[in-house]
Amino acid sequence: MADQPTAFERFTQGILPENPVYRQLLGLCPVLAVTNSVQGAMTMAGAVLFVLLCANVIISLIRDLLKPHLRIVIFTLTIATFVTIVDRFLAAYMYQMSKNLGPYIPLIIVNCIIICRCEVCASKQSVFTAASDAVGQSLGFALALASIASVREILGTGMFFGFRVLPEMWPDWVIMVLPPGAFLTFGLLLGAVNWVAARKKG
């Protein structure tokens, strides 16, 4: 266990070097689906933070009791429970947002980021490390969502966070808030990230 990353390393790795969206290509379904407005994207990131943090902490607490063949069952059970909780909270306190996000909140259950972090980090390391890993990964996820959502919202509606940033005469690029815009924006941003990473290395 000597070469396991420390809590701080886990935290910083999640944000950029091992960004779950741009570097690991995990959890792409919400990345594409909820990024037509920054507000929706941030709510999604908050929900993922809550679920990932709770799941990581619980799994890390019981990591010595886990049996290899029942591991996935326990992960799924924990994640599904916390997703249900966050879904109900949104429906109770942010009804309109929960209606907008629709099925994508429950789809966090099958979001590979969470089960992957439970497997890679939480089932092997201490509670504190697991928690900082969860926060780091969620911040990385939030950063990725925010970058895509900003591009799509600004170009598609001329607004940012609901406030107008581009002049009224801006012809809204409607395609950006429609499904194709999600694919195009994410594809181009991914290319840009790859390009920067390659330049740094070389």
């Binding site: 886990l66 909780i85 306190y93 809204d172």
Partner: protein, 230 residues
Amino acid sequence: MTTTTQETPGSGKNRWTNFFIVQAWLVLLLASFFGAALAGIQLTLAPKIEANKLNETLEKVPELILGADAARASKDSGQQMEINRQYMTAGTKTYSVFKAEKDNQTAGWVVKASGQGYADKIELLVGVDETVNTITGLFVLDQKETPGLGNKIMEPDWRRQFVSKPTHLLLTAVKTKADGPGEISAITGATISSKAVCDIVNQSLNNLRQPLAKAASDKKKPSEKQQEKN
């Protein structure tokens, strides 16, 4: 299960308990713990979620019947409006109908109607007056039309065209300036969405006009008689 009993019975049973209770105790413990947590969540939040769902429609009812300004004025003056929901079957469809009563008199009806739009289902609230003769308001509850084109059906300016249209006329979306009695000017570039809204309104009102008028007059008669006596 049958395979374990076919082997030596004693050890088979041991393996059975071994397998389930010893190995899965953690799963069972977690499941009961999570179950309790979810039950708690359900008890505290379910009434609130239900209220949210209902309020979404109920909040719109006064505005749809009285008009936005009058509804605000009546809210400010603290007047009460009692809203009842009922289901009405007409033709092949069942509609949710909200009946608004003010000072024990029917103030109007709001019908929840839905139909196929351009992209997906459009869900509307249509307000009509108590005698079901004119439309008093229209609100779009849910739609997935093209942003920037079809979703302009949500804009108040466009929806206002429907106000005070007679219910017995077929509404048609026209591309030119609307000047006929049953004409609505379509949104530029979104004729199909505009038409879809008109069709949903037409169909629901055509189905419900008679039953609603009947229900209104049934309810009215006893009170009218009382007034005559007085």
